[in-house]
Symmetry: C2
Subunit: 199 residues, 2 copies
Amino acid sequence: MPVAPRTQINILQQPTSAAWLSQAIANLDIILLDHSHCERKAAACALNLMFRYPAHQDLVTKLTAIAIEELEHFEQVNRWLARRGVPLAPLNAPPYGSSLKQLVRRQEPERLLDSLLMAALIEARSHERLGLLGEHCPDPELAAFYRGLMASEARHYGVYWVLADQYFERSVVQERLEEMATVESEILATLHPEPRIHS
Amino acid sequence: MPVAPRTQINILQQPTSAAWLSQAIANLDIILLDHSHCERKAAACALNLMFRYPAHQDLVTKLTAIAIEELEHFEQVNRWLARRGVPLAPLNAPPYGSSLKQLVRRQEPERLLDSLLMAALIEARSHERLGLLGEHCPDPELAAFYRGLMASEARHYGVYWVLADQYFERSVVQERLEEMATVESEILATLHPEPRIHS
């Protein structure tokens, strides 16, 4: 199954607000630290799905590649933190991830579908927001770094979408994706007071 | 802190029995499938420690590299499975891992020390056993693959040992390592009836 063109998998219901961008630009170090956590969580998300579905050959193959790439990005973000003198530190997660997780149904095969679509939505939103930072970040080298990440991150949400499309009927995928994307945009409609990639 | 020479970190109390090698050679496909699971678990183990100690800079840096390498090995083992026509499938874990986990004390900082030493012991045992397969596997190409993995796997147990040595007094590390290594060898003294990397 070929990857759908990007316009067809541009799955976000609402674009990120200007308020988020202002908050992020005013707090670049915290955003970078949160970004580090996001890359590690993205790797863990891929790995968790590989543990849950160890016999799904295509899922395992594709998510191994994603997990490796996320860990490489994690390394790169951590080098940027070191360069800016920001020590690694824990950071409270915004409600975004846990709110999305509540959408995942518990029984199979719905659990697999929802998990793939949740990951697709998170990747799509990260892609959009890193793109905004790549465009508007006042540090030109850091902006270039964000644009560089974009080039390789762009594929991830497509991979999750293609896996969903492979294991489920397309009409089922589309309908559930719309439902989940609506909630995803609703979660972000109110800006979280702490600056985060998904605030 | 330089890495100690290999002789000093050859931490296993008892060598693997001839019985394990015979069992493994007679069940190469199952061993390969279990090996795939082991590589994925090793990546997850590194990632879990990175989640638990997000501000331990050196641990995070070194375990990111290990997690990436384990996932690359996972990919390579899975290609070998495909080549031999063995489908990915779940497999009951032998008691080895859960028995070792019972040694990990719950309070910090003992939990960190024990977790690092448990990982070091598992890596050391894997290293030893993959070495035996590299030497005795009747398929010369598969044997060469095991020897190739050895070259890069050899460092992992050293990394866990060095991290333990960095965060704790050496005498404390040595004493606890001896205690845990004794139990590790005891667990393997009775061959598990199902062929596994750690049967």
